[in-house]
Amino acid sequence: MGALTRERDVREAYAAHSGELYGFAVRSLGDAGLAEEAVQETFLRAWRAGDRFDPEIGSLRTWLFAILRNVVIDLGRARAARPRVAESGIEPSVEPFEQALLAWQVEEAMRRIGEDHRRVLLETHFRARPYSEVAAELGVPEGTIKSRVYYGLRALRVALEEMGYED
């Protein structure tokens, strides 16, 4: 029950999650062709191991991202011409991957929130511009910028939670 064992399950999983998996794969691998391959391999592995997926334990999305993580690491290894230092048991690519995933989730969440909120967060936070300057540019009172920062952060939180983020 709930396992990813039928071809139709894979089709539904693809429809629901391929965009995100691909978006992250492009960011992580820096190459559209490799990203395509990574997504393809992720769904194939998911299907082969489909009876091991248990929705009681975690979401399908989380499971697919865990598979993609391994695929990306394999592709990264294949790309690196030098032998790896994995004999020591250290996994050098793990930490950057988790961080890249979190960074991508924040960027994706920023893309999903409303244009007004995104704009204000970009200008005030990322470009460090004074609220008064942004207010003048947008032709709104400064208090509106402040409330958009508030509602923008709230919307960002909701978008992140939809992607599985927890405190």
Binding site: E7, S18, A78, L102, Y150
Partner: protein, 240 residues
């Protein structure tokens, strides 16, 4: 009034969490937080998000979102259908070995064998191009790569034999059509001493395939498909 004060302070919590408030307003919000459990809870929630913001790259936020190619889903489905079909076939073979007797099983096995043998014998019923044997030329000394390509309704089944490369090397196999479009056929890891025949499949029809290739570690080897090629041979001696 108190409710208006509460509302104003609450709307300032985003700027407060990001450290954007001037000192006097920051102090006023801090004073309000002392006595307002609701705002304290809200602030905790906003602070979690505010702490993540520096991870993001604004250029990536504003850039266009990457979309997967429109046909990627169909290619994945075709590959899964191919594996599914192959698995079914193996299951039927296994059942026979376990000793399920009788005419029905024997007939089933005969049918399976016919399917397995026909393409290699020069093309099965309903399949347009016959199976092909491809030898990779221009390989480094000691390296040998051969592939057998079998046509199917789903695309092409590939059996690949590799030797002479470093054990553990990840090999990613693909087919290309005449227009240079690449169709992944999956990947395998080459291991010394292990069974080195890898079975793969690609959604590209064999009759459309112009080239087969394998990314092995940092190297890529290719060979033309669709023309008469020699049968299995040893390693090509071309230098590097």
């Amino acid at each position: 009034m108190r409710t208006e004060d509460h509302r104003d302070r609450k709307l300032a919590l985003g700027a407060y969490a990001l450290g954007d408030l001037p000192p006097d307003e920051r102090a006023a919000v801090a004073a309000h937080l002392e006595g307002c459990e609701e705002c304290r809870a809200e602030l905790r929630s906003l602070e979690g998000v505010a702490a993540l913001l520096p991870l993001a790259d604004p250029a990536r936020i504003e850039g266009p979102a990457a979309r997967p190619p429109a046909d990627l889903g169909a290619r994945i489905e075709a590959q899964i259908a191919a594996e599914s079909a192959r698995e079914g076939r193996q299951r039927r073979r296994r059942r026979f070995r376990l000793g399920v007797g009788g005419a029905v099983a024997a007939a089933a096995v005969a049918a399976v064998l016919a399917i397995a043998i026909l393409p290699l014998g020069g093309g099965g019923a309903g399949e347009s191009s016959p199976a092909q044997q491809v030898n990779f030329a221009s390989l480094p000394n000691g390296v040998s790569i051969n592939a057998t390509l079998e046509p199917h309704a789903f695309g092409t089944e590939i059996e690949m034999y590799v030797s002479g490369i470093r054990s553990g090397t990840l090999c990613r196999v693909f087919l290309r059509d005449a227009k240079g479009r690449t169709y992944s056929a999956g990947s395998f890891r080459y291991r010394w001493g292990a069974d080195s025949h890898a079975k793969l499949s690609s959604a590209l029809d064999l009759s459309q395939a112009a080239e087969i290739g394998v990314h092995a570690g940092s190297r890529t080897f290719t060979a033309p498909v669709g023309q008469a090629t020699a049968l299995v041979g040893g390693a090509d001696t071309a230098a590097t």
